[in-house]
Symmetry: C2
Amino acid sequence: MTDPLYRQIAQDLRGQIQTGQLPPGAQLRTELELREHYKASRNTIRDAIKWLVSSGLVETRPGQGTFVVEKIDPFVTTLSEDPETGLGGGEGEAAFAEVRERGRNPTRIGPRVELRQAVGNVATRLRIEEGTQVVSRHWERFIDGIPWSLQTAFYPMDLVTRGAHQLLMAEDVPDGSVAYLKQTLSLVQVGYRDRILVRAPNEEESRFFRVADDGRIPMISIMRTSYQATDEGPVPFRVTYTNLPADRNQLVVNFGEVPPARAAAASLDPPRS
Amino acid sequence: MTDPLYRQIAQDLRGQIQTGQLPPGAQLRTELELREHYKASRNTIRDAIKWLVSSGLVETRPGQGTFVVEKIDPFVTTLSEDPETGLGGGEGEAAFAEVRERGRNPTRIGPRVELRQAVGNVATRLRIEEGTQVVSRHWERFIDGIPWSLQTAFYPMDLVTRGAHQLLMAEDVPDGSVAYLKQTLSLVQVGYRDRILVRAPNEEESRFFRVADDGRIPMISIMRTSYQATDEGPVPFRVTYTNLPADRNQLVVNFGEVPPARAAAASLDPPRS
DNA sequence: GCAAATTTGTTCGTATGTATT
DNA sequence: CAATACATACGAACAAATTTG
């Protein structure tokens, strides 16, 4: 019936955070002080704090203390295509422009170009045999110096042998790869499908984004399959993975006619039900 | 340099899970057995298991043991509009149809209809004053008996006074509210914007979806603003919140021409970088 | 620059409670 | 009812990170 002690303590502290009595950035009393205050053992206090950490309300810093988390101003990525350029939202060039438009400073590292064998979803989505050669182009992106996204695009080797040699160069493709493939191979992108899921970060991601490696902060993973026009209808020519930590990213998708986007990210707004 | 003991143990167990040595559903050895095996104290074993729980790899059941989690076959919601019906993906009627199409059994409870004052994002997005009356229609949805989504739609009271009285009825609007508003008020939906973010569940959500209340399993929260045609361009007439637990849901968005969707949900596929 | 003080992190031991079989 | 397994709670000691004097 009654909650365990550590939960009662956690809920009391949570109340203080939610009422603003402990504002973002504020330091909680130390474990020893809380131990006296709640007349519990230090381990029980620590269990309470662990629950708050897991809920994303506080963070602990060894040697310093426990602090109420300060929300990161989230960056908003638009997935829908730009009606003017036809560029897919969230892709290299478009993503870059969108960030700068909002008065923030995007930087990037890459691309790292690799030749690989297609496996799993890459083979499935590109409709090629497992083991077929593909080119992968990998980018690391930052906003205002904060790690923002990891993105990898996979192209069938076929495109290169047919003349798109720029795909092998470890450098930016001017005006973007969609425009390049159109010029070089008359390949016209007619659409794309995004598949969005949420999962725990892997080791590389928790290192790059500097988030805990226990899955506290989830990743938003977007798998995009891009299609070109053919006589037999749309056929895939590229698969792109974009991985974003959920604590600093939101997505926007537009359908039909909508007014211009407002710059502000959505507040979390008491989720209503 | 060296990881703490509980991390080493956790990583060893993680290895056994990832290699399939401990397949999904398998039971781990008990804490006491692991204590002997690793020559550590029971508390240290428990710390290791807690890390695995937090990473979403195992779950503990009091009185039973610790088990490797079995992935739920995720349900895929398409957000893009149906080109035939013009219905927005993921909305009441469309969502229902999509589920049934995939051979799964959707049920629902609702709507619960309430009159409220618009606050926060609801007021902002509908472009009305805070405090203005709005109608909220709330649904609980299930797939194959499993809690799937909580959805709440907000309409300005204005629509009701102009004649859309069905919005106040705590019953399904036949053919959907978009069709109803078109018939009754000649209100034509011309587009919508989805804003997607990921956050920890609140208390009501963790209860309804039967997930841990410490935020281990994140929620995918979609805020949709729907627009009607006017002489001055698109104007919002509805705000819909859809909240989905991330462990059993994926999203799909289509742009331009894409082939028909395949039924299968995306596997998690070693996230590539 | 170093040493001390402060604060959280790790690890052990022990006892008792609660859920399930 | 008994046995088993995880959950809660206390106490204690030392380690590691950080700040302060």
